[in-house]
């Protein structure tokens, strides 16, 4: 038999049918939806007078535009409220399982899918949201789709897709202190640029990846899209299985064993060829931060902004436009600059481990007075766990408050906006112009770097605080 990559194994087992000279019909095991990109899809079904084909394969949550304070009250912003109500109405009508606002399992779609055991190895998973790549951490083909495609999945549980190329990124060796999985992926994106993996599906491998927890792996797969990749995945292993064992209920030992046998086969065959292969030494990576307006524009926290956008023979208009928006100049040093906001949260870094890391650094210290901090758990369960593990006390003692779960300041559809011109060290995934509010200036970084900024009030290398 021909050697196959993990990606190809999953893809091939889900290919229903191939169109000549065209895309393939791909069966989708798990579909996630949320309030923002689904209403027009349901409307499409209604216009055609058809029902959802396999309602059990779709799970819904409200996350993008919900408030992160006083969630028990009605949503103030009228259009947001209508959108959330529309989701409830659509789910009811089509018998879709909804973990909506105030549900005890509510949270960001890419946080709750895995933590509730819906995301499982070998699956095909889609959602009308580009960070669906997060679920690839479990050895799945997971990718973001547009609303027309949401409608297709609701109507037929299938999509027409062209097979992407494959790339493997190997990260080997040990990480330095203060360096997290967020820094690994930011380092990779800076190396490949924000369009560098367009057309590819990426597999992350290597000893540094194998040592990571599921939370850390999700952070890496989550940001695959920020280099243009269709998605990213990691072969499941004993860390994956241990994570899932706790989350999948109602299985007898025998059923579990038979699942495991299947899952253990989910890896790229030895010697298989990828269209592109990249090698990275973990020890080369330092804490990272972005300085521009796309995630590829990143440097080490202690480094300097480059003098040009890269290609010397080309006009640097886009590069300069970006720096101008950020209020920086080529060659500037970032460390030591004052910041105004710190945001801990999002589907990139809103999981329990991220709160543990943030708390470990601020423990026994105090929030800087110039900092407004938004600490937003990725889900209700994360929120609960932050309280249960005593992290809330640590955060409170250091002068921080905890908000309620949601996407929040990651895309600022709700009230959690960063004001124009202000600097925010943010653990989310996008530093696009206006992403965190019109005129907001975003500096993406890890939870540790965010914590260091929160207590010093400035851009600070977190390794200074770690023994």
């Amino acid at each position: 038999m021909k050697a196959k990559t993990l990606f190809e194994k999953i893809w091939d087992s889900h290919a229903v049918y191939s169109i000549e000279d065209g895309p393939e019909v791909l069966y989708i095991d798990q579909h996630y939806i949320h309030e923002v990109t689904s209403p027009q899809a349901f409307k499409g079904l209604d216009d055609r007078g058809i029902k959802v084909f396999r309602p059990k394969r779709t799970l819904a949550t409200a996350d993008h535009n919900i408030p992160t304070k006083d969630q028990h009250l009605t949503i103030k912003e009228e259009l947001s409220r209508l959108q959330v109500e529309k989701l409830t109405e659509n789910c009811k009508k089509h018998k879709i399982n909804l973990f909506g606002l105030n549900h005890k399992k509510n949270g960001i779609v890419h946080v709750i899918g895995p933590e509730l055991g819906f995301t499982r190895p070998g699956m095909t998973i889609v959602c009308g949201d580009s960070h669906t790549s997060t679920h690839g951490a479990f050895g799945t083909i997971a990718f973001g789709i547009g609303t027309s495609e949401v409608e297709m999945v609701l109507a037929t549980q299938c999509l027409l897709q062209t097979k992407p190329k494959t790339m493997r990124i190997n990260v080997n060796g040990d990480l330095k202190k203060g360096v997290t999985s967020k820094d690994i992926i930011m380092y990779i994106i800076a190396k490949l640029t924000s369009g560098g993996a367009t057309g590819y599906f990426v597999e992350y491998a290597g000893t540094a990846i194998e040592k990571l927890s599921m939370e850390a792996r999700m952070t890496i797969c989550n940001m695959s899209i920020e280099m243009g990749a269709r998605g990213g995945l990691i072969a499941p292993d004993k860390i994956t299985f241990a994570y899932l064992k706790k989350r999948i209920g109602k299985l007898t030992d025998k059923e579990w064993e038979s699942q495991l046998r299947k899952w253990k086969k989910l890896k790229s065959d030895p010697g298989v060829k990828f269209d592109k292969e990249i090698k990275i030494q973990a020890s080369d990576i330092n804490p990272m931060i972005t300085f521009g307006t796309n995630p590829g524009m990143a440097i080490t926290v202690t480094g300097n902004i480059p003098l040009s956008g890269g290609l010397e023979d080309k006009k640097d208009e886009s590069f300069l436009k970006s720096l101008n928006y950020m209020g920086f100049k080529p060659g500037d040093k970032l460390a030591g600059r004052k910041v105004d906001y710190v945001f801990l949260g999002s589907c990139t870094n809103g999981r329990i481990e991220d709160f543990r890391e943030f708390a470990s650094l601020v423990k026994g210290r105090k929030k800087a007075s110039n900092i407004t901090a938004l600490l937003v758990p990725g889900s209700k369960l994360v929120e609960e766990q932050v309280k249960r593990e005593g992290l809330l006390e640590i955060l409170n003692d250091a002068g921080f408050e905890l908000r309620q779960p949601g996407c929040s300041s990651c895309l600022a559809m709700n009230e959690d906006k960063i004001p124009a011109g202000k600097y925010a060290v943010s653990t989310s995934n996008r530093n696009f112009e206006g992403r965190q509010g019109p005129g907001a200036r975003t500096l993406l970084a890890s939870p540790l770097t965010a914590a260091a900024a929160a207590i010093t009030g400035k851009i600070t290398d977190p390794s200074e605080f770690i023994n």
Partner: protein
């Protein structure tokens, strides 16, 4: 939403020579609360097009009366970022039917093809030349023939061939959509589920 069929088109162009234009710029998140597909054109490139006080930003290309047409030419990696199809709806609603770039982000490209907006990929130097030509004379036109996958650029008699998947091309020319296709093969899908023992 049924889209206009598209095959032949001759039009002036609007040049936007910025790289990595993400969908947050095309349509900012705060305009995503609508539950219909219409009306997004008003807020296309909102934060570039308008000043903070709501007045038009005179230096932005869409506010420059000299430039108009159904073709948008953009820098490379157009449409990166969020998967929001609202970005394509906004571009279409504004009146564009074609976007030319040296490369597009994947999800954006799919969304365009699903909504009757034709993404044309040309080599970077051709895109830069075209932008230059349009900037020098906003009256110049491109001529597109989708059936033949050809585009004629101003000042060049040669027509360039562009790539598009044959299936997608047929869909665009005939105004078909993937969902029509999938609904038609539902029996195959059910057969697949049965074979795999899934429901």
């Amino acid at each position: 939403m049924p889209k206009e069929k598209i095959n032949k088109l001759e039009s002036t162009c609007v040049p936007l020579p910025i790289e990595n234009i993400d969908t947050d710029q095309i349509i900012p998140a705060r305009f995503l609360t609508a539950t219909t597909r219409e009306g997004f054109g008003e807020n296309l490139f909102r934060d570039w097009r308008y000043n903070k006080d709501g007045s038009a930003n005179k230096s932005f290309i869409l506010n420059n009366k000299a430039f108009s047409g159904k073709v948008l030419i953009a820098g490379k990696n157009f449409g990166c970022g969020s998967s929001r199809e609202h970005a394509v709806w906004a571009i279409y609603d504004y009146g564009f039917r074609v976007v030319i770039s040296s490369f597009f982000a994947d999800i954006f490209k799919n969304n365009s093809l699903n909504n009757g907006l034709l993404p044309i990929i040309l080599p970077e130097d051709l895109v830069l030349n075209l932008i230059q030509a349009v900037q020098n004379d906003p009256g110049v036109k491109v001529k597109i023939n989708l059936e033949e996958q050809k585009i004629e650029l101003p000042g060049s008699r040669k027509a360039y061939q562009f790539e598009i998947n044959k299936y997608k091309k047929d869909c665009m020319i005939n105004g078909f959509n993937d969902i029509d296709y999938l609904l038609n093969i539902k029996n195959k899908i059910i057969g697949f589920e049965e074979k795999k023992g899934i429901t």
